[in-house]
């Protein structure tokens, strides 16, 4: 295969929002992000996998065959987070703009699980520390519908499209 044919995300192992749009279509805009939480799949590659579509209670995930990409109808999405809980690739996130903060919902399968109200280190898609945020919701593994703990962290709005993981730092 020629190097030019290789998508950027496969050369580096992470994807930028701009590149993601080329695969799953336009991402939700500010107006939608302010309305309520919305699910965004960072899943640009055709792999045989359907749990997000199967679990969605409002049929907002379109995927004609199991190898097609999940495309979320952002208007239909009610922000229930079931797709974030179930996704085997841990590739679903939710975003919600509230004032000058953004609430990011993400999977967290590491120890320790932060507590509600705890301040955590924010990591971007390449694991760099980009700031600090506060955890406002934790769904532990035993309450998760997908066997994966998830949490919602409030971050400065300018970091909304960067933060995709957190690190818990305890003295």
């Amino acid at each position: 295969m020629m190097a030019a044919e290789i998508p950027r995300y496969l050369r580096y192992g992470y994807i930028t929002p701009e590149e993601l749009e080329k695969y799953i279509g336009e991402l939700p805009g500010e107006e939608r992000l302010r309305k309520r939480s919305v699910a965004i799949p960072e899943c640009p590659q055709e792999i045989p996998c359907t749990p997000c579509k199967e679990i969605c209670p409002v049929d907002a995930v379109s995927m004609p065959t199991p190898n097609d990409l999940p495309v979320v109808d952002y208007d239909k999405c009610v922000g229930c987070s079931l797709c974030v809980q179930i996704c085997p690739g841990l590739a679903f996130f939710m975003m919600h703009y509230v004032g000058d903060r953004a609430r990011i919902t993400l999977p967290h399968e590491l120890l320790p699980l932060p507590e509600k109200g705890e301040e955590v280190v924010l990591l971007n898609r390449v694991g760099e520390e980009v700031g600090r945020g506060r955890v406002i919701l934790v769904i532990p593994r035993e309450k998760s519908k997908g066997d994966t703990p998830i949490l919602t962290v409030e971050v400065p709005i300018e970091l909304a499209w960067d933060v995709r993981a957190v690190r818990v730092v305890r003295e």
């Binding site: 295969m1 190097a3 290789i6 998508p7 995300y9 496969l10 050369r11 580096y12 192992g13 992470y14 994807i15 960072e42 899943c43 640009p44 590659q45 055709e46 792999i47 045989p48 996998c49 359907t50 749990p51 199967e54 679990i55 065959t65 199991p66 190898n67 179930i86 996704c87 085997p88 690739g89 841990l90 590739a91 399968e109 590491l110 120890l111 699980l113 990591l123 971007n124 898609r125 390449v126 694991g127 760099e128 593994r141 997908g146 066997d147 994966t148 703990p149 995709r164 993981a165």
Partner: protein
């Protein structure tokens, strides 16, 4: 070096009573239910044997009984695979030095003593393919014998802590460890499935109308199994790549590291370099982080991530670099890995001088692919072909997975390296087909075969599956090629 806290696994439920074994005369604490090499590793012992010619130190490599890198002497008997032999209180383990002879007092099992077991379908291998074959063959009406050389059922599922892909009816969204539990429970509750663990099949023969499988239980007891048909689902083994010092203890197949930390709760090391950014290498990196082990980097000779992107993204956002177009040049260290030297590759796969980087690691994980374990099928006389897309030598077979020898079926990674999801579907096809062949299943079961075949087709319809399909086309009996 035992793991206690883990986000997914609870080892306190798994560890048995504490016992003592002796390694080179010194006492080592172990737990019932774990294998010799796991207990030794937990005690910091990595050198298990020395090679026969140059007396180089050797340790674990595959940890599933396939590679013979971990052979030790147990109570005076050499050539014991320490990775699949369970500890027993008071066991005396010694390092093996090259090829060692049986002690004069050792008495081999006598042929006429072999206990005999008979069924309709014999299945070798209790992983996802073998378990599904057993469950489906049993439901189709067959008396099933299921044998596996591991001390537990589940094959490689028992160390897969990640959630599976696919459709939810195929266990998507469920962790491999949980799938292993579900399948084991299903197999054990069927009275027409007889299960033999710690039992290695060593030969497959035709005797009249029957398949005869010769096996050895717990390294010492000869057993004979007979059935009208046979399913071979013996899985795969890890590939090795050439580089300087690639036999140093601490260089493990990726699966061996999963066995250490996910099956037995033993920390494989503190700092790891992974070679290979396919799914196995990427998943391993994530699991290491979950076990609290630092992953320094993943190197990949190809110019891109070979596994699923989502697995790469999971470890990238936790700070693990993936160095594409890089390879390992050598390992350094005396009796164990102390450093790894990697370098960038040019367009012609040659290391670029001046790009060498040194990583201080105590473990190097090789995730450079798997090859099907076809030895028994080869010995039985099934036709083999080398098919790159399927990972190496595989057997020719038809759409119901029957090989060129009537009544011998294949399923799972033995049929070609793929995924546990496809292994389960293939197991279903082969199990039912074997029951039909044995003459015990009603033709209604053909519908179930067809359903599994459609599911396989659907699963393989993407870019990853198409690659596998190319390979399958080449080995299919009566296929287009």
């Amino acid at each position: 070096m035992r793991l206690n806290e883990h986000p997914i696994l609870d080892f306190s439920l798994r560890r048995g009573r504490e016992v003592t074994i002796y390694f080179e005369g010194k006492p080592v604490k172990a737990h019932e239910g774990e294998t010799i090499s796991m207990a030794l590793h937990a005690a910091g012992i990595r050198v298990l044997s020395h090679s026969s010619e140059k007396h180089r130190p050797r340790g674990l490599f595959c940890a599933i009984g396939k590679c013979s890198s971990c052979l030790v002497k147990v109570n005076g008997i050499p050539n014991v695979r320490s990775c699949i032999t369970l500890v027993e209180d008071g066991m005396r383990v010694e390092m093996q030095k090259g090829k060692e002879e049986l002690p004069k007092t050792a008495k081999p099992p006598e042929w006429k003593d072999a206990p005999k077991f008979e069924g309709d379908v014999v299945i070798i291998g209790g992983g996802p393919a073998g378990l599904m074959a057993a469950i489906n063959a049993a439901d189709a009406g067959a008396r099933v014998i299921l044998i596996d050389e591991q001390p537990m059922l589940g094959g490689q599922l028992v160390k897969q802590t990640h959630k599976f892909f696919g459709k939810r009816e195929q266990f998507a969204g469920v962790r491999g460890i949980k799938i292993a539990e579900i399948l084991e429970e299903e197999a054990r509750k069927r009275e027409n499935i007889q299960i033999f663990l710690e039992t290695s099949a060593v030969g497959v023969f035709q005797e009249g109308d029957e398949k005869l499988v010769i096996a050895v239980r717990k390294n010492r007891e000869l057993l004979e199994f007979r059935g009208k048909s046979l399913v071979v689902a013996t899985g795969a083994m890890e590939k090795m790549i050439p580089f300087e010092n690639n036999d140093l203890p601490g260089i493990y197949g990726a699966g061996a590291i999963q066995t250490l930390m996910n099956t037995y709760g033993v920390k494989p090391g503190d700092r790891v370099l992974i070679v290979g950014a396919g799914n196995v290498g990427l998943i391993l990196a994530y699991q290491l982080i979950q076990a609290g082990v630092e992953v320094k980097a993943i190197v990949e000779a190809m110019p891109k991530v070979g596994g699923y992107f989502v697995h790469a993204a999971k470890v990238r956002r936790l700070g693990v670099p993936i160095l594409t177009r890089h390879t390992i040049l050598r390992a350094e260290g005396r009796e164990r890995v102390e450093r790894a030297v990697v370098a960038q590759l040019d367009e012609n796969w040659r290391p670029i001088p001046g790009t060498e980087r040194v990583f201080d690691v105590d473990v190097i994980a090789l995730a450079v692919g798997l090859r099907p374990s076809v030895e028994l099928l080869h010995q039985a006389g099934c036709q083999l072909l080398y098919i790159r897309e399927l990972g190496g030598h595989v057997v020719r077979r038809d759409e119901r997975l029957e090989t060129t020898i009537s009544g011998i079926f294949v399923a799972g990674d033995t049929a070609g390296i793929e995924e546990a999801t496809t292994a389960m579907l293939e197991g279903k096809v082969a199990g039912i087909a074997a029951a039909l062949k044995a003459g015990v299943a009603s033709p209604d079961w053909l519908k179930e075969i067809e359903k599994a075949q459609r599911d396989l087709e659907e699963f393989r319809s993407g870019p990853f599956g198409r690659h596998v399909l190319e390979g399958i086309k080449k080995v299919m009996i009566g296929g287009s090629e």
